[in-house]
């Protein structure tokens, strides 16, 4: 371009010199302003003048092109920084080539912009998909820096900040996870995470050289249910086998002649009866539970004054409490009325108070207290027995779960009482739970919906 412009000016200067014969030499500046001029007829002067004019015009052309390029460079830099911007069409209106260059830059910018937008969309889509799934997804690059960490993975690993681009080791230190990252083959391992989650981690695949994708599956609930199921099967067979074994042994002994021995027969028969009763109780409880599970257990929910309910429940337990020297203290006001099925509430209270009496020490204490708690009434049954160890506390409401199997079987329970209590309370829109009492013992609590209006208005039952 520069060469073409300079040639054009030189040809023009020579043409002027040759046609006019007399040459006017002009001294000009960059902008072609005449600084000085003189005329000469001498042929060499014409050549000099032409040369001077050509050089001046060439310089002018170069400077003009350089200015356009500088301007183009500046706007191109803006476009490179922000591909949504464009080079304005007014740039370098005199230079075709520069204008064409600007157009190509615009074309490239548009292309880059389209790619950026597509990439951004992909990224949003990817993270939306990743966040939407229950499995944890971790992607790291070859330096083990985090490229992607979806919501599920954040939850399982207990990461709250935004860790993209940070080294994974700053957030997770599970040894097995890093062994998976180092392993060449895809592999799976199960780990206990610090957040309490039990997870199966699978190294999915390599990507972008040495980058890795790991998938985390939360198996906490599944493993817990497996344990509950396993324990249930083991416990139910144990609970049923023991009385059946006694019945069979006693019956066999009776049949083989003991029935005629007045010294032994009554004891064996009494054993038969006691164990048959025990089996019947377990079966009745199991039947109740299965009805509750199936929603077939009929509940007749009405207004039940708590004081009366406590008194009724206590009549069933008094003898046993007196035999063990356990003192029961009740704190309840007359105005506390709950919405419950009277029979179910009695079963619940008898069960909980009976447990408290059974498991507190000889000459121990049991406190029963009821108080309003918002729209509900809270009942707490507190004892000063040995209490329940942390690891058992959350499982005592499971069927046949025994915190201390030898002791509780001696106490004569079926192992289903608390499980029934939980189902009954929940069927009446209540909640039940247990927490440790200080300094010793346990507090079993339940909350049932309060019945509106004063107790005096309750219908006679």
């Amino acid at each position: 371009m520069i060469r073409r412009a300079r040639t054009r000016v030189l040809v023009l200067a020579l043409a002027l010199a040759l046609t006019a014969g007399i040459v006017t030499a002009l001294l000009v500046d960059d902008e072609l302003h005449v600084l000085h001029s003189y005329a000469s007829a001498a042929p060499y002067a014409a050549a000099i003048a032409a040369g001077v004019i050509a050089l001046a015009a060439g310089g002018l052309a170069i400077s003009s092109v350089r200015r356009s390029l500088r301007e183009l460079e500046q706007v191109t830099r803006d476009v490179a920084r922000d591909t949504t911007r464009r080079i304005p069409p007014l740039i370098a209106p005199r230079d075709d080539e520069v204008r064409q260059l600007a157009e190509w830059v615009n074309f490239l910018a548009e292309d880059a912009n389209r790619s950026h937008q597509a990439l951004a969309r992909e990224r949003v889509l990817l993270s939306a998909v990743a966040d939407g799934i229950n499995q944890g997804v971790i992607a790291v690059d070859s330096d083990h820096k985090i490229e992607l960490l979806n919501d599920a993975a954040r939850g399982m690993l207990g990461v709250s900040s935004s860790p993209l681009g940070e080294p994974l080791i700053e957030f997770v230190r599970v040894p097995q996870l890093f062994e998976l990252l180092e392993a060449d083959e895809a592999a799976t391992t199960e780990v206990q995470l610090a957040s309490g989650v039990r997870a199966v981690i699978r190294s999915a695949q390599k990507w972008g050289g040495e980058g890795r994708v790991l998938l985390l599956e939360d198996v906490t609930t599944m493993r817990r249910l497996e344990t509950v199921r396993r324990d249930f099967v083991a416990n139910v067979s144990h609970e049923l086998r023991t009385p059946v074994a006694v019945i069979r042994a006693n019956a066999e002994t009776l049949l083989s002649g003991a029935k005629d021995d007045p010294a032994i027969a009554p004891r064996l028969i009494e054993g038969l009866h006691r164990n048959a009763e025990r089996l019947a109780r377990i079966l009745a409880d199991l039947l109740d539970l299965s009805r509750l599970d199936a929603g077939q257990y009929r509940l007749d929910v009405g207004r039940v004054p708590l004081r009366a309910a406590f008194e009724q429940a206590l009549t069933a337990i008094e003898t046993q409490a007196a035999a063990r020297g356990v003192i029961i203290e009740v704190t309840v006001t007359d105005d506390l009325v709950v919405k419950a099925d009277p029979k179910a509430l009695d079963q619940i209270l008898v069960n909980l108070i009976d447990n408290a009496v059974k498991y507190t020490r000889q000459d121990g204490h049991v406190w029963i207290e009821a108080k309003p708690a918002g729209a509900k009434v809270r009942v707490e049954i507190r004892d000063d027995g040995p209490g329940i160890a942390d690891r058992h506390r959350e499982r005592v409401f499971e069927r046949f779960y025994r915190a201390d199997p030898s002791r509780s079987r001696d106490a004569g329970g079926t192992g289903l009482g608390l499980s029934i209590v939980k189902h009954l309370v929940e069927s009446m829109n209540g909640e039940v739970g247990v927490r440790p009492n200080r300094p010793r013992g346990s507090i079993f609590w339940l909350q049932l919906p309060a019945a509106p209006g004063p107790a005096a208005e309750s219908e006679p039952s």
Binding site: E170, R173, A194
Partner: protein, 229 residues
Amino acid sequence: MASHTSKEFSLELRTLRERLATMGDKASQQVARAMKALDDRDDDLARQVIKLDAEIDRDENDVDELALQILATRQPVASDLRFITMSLKFVVDVERIGDLAAGIAKRALELNRLPPLDVRIDLNQLAQLAQKNLQAVLDAFVQRDADKANEVITADAAIDKLNASLFAELLAYVATDAATVTRVLPLTSVCRCLERIGDHVKNLAEEVVYMVRATDIKHKKSRNPSADS
């Protein structure tokens, strides 16, 4: 070629860092498992802890080898050199924590052969404090956070204090019922193990401060009068 070497070097440093942090985590898990074995009177879990200690010992050898190899082949300087020399000390403390966890598991096995004590003496609070500090120092290590490491050093005083009070409680128990001595002694030993785990964690914290700030704070009494008490 130069960039290739530097990439390999940074890969080695990253591996060393990850090995140290995950080894620390393994030791922390061992402490938790040993305490659970003690609490649940779980022989199987206690034996598992004793068995897994060999894995931490192996890790120590691996990390040593890796650190020495980096020293020999890369001749690191400045912060890299500090990191590698620190890792040689770090790994010893972590390995000792693993040994102490195995020690707790052995005491658990002894106690499981004896009937349980009537009164529950809760060592879990002490164990939780020690583990919390261990996790905090590992955080400080991976995040190169000297302030956090300093907090761990200060927090060690609480462990010593709790240990002393538990020790007194256990002794008082023996004084009231001398027959329980065979069951209480292993428990005092568990207390001692936990207190020493706390000391090793404090060492780790001092090593982290050295790595980050290049100042050796070992064997220096704090000027803060409240921390001296």
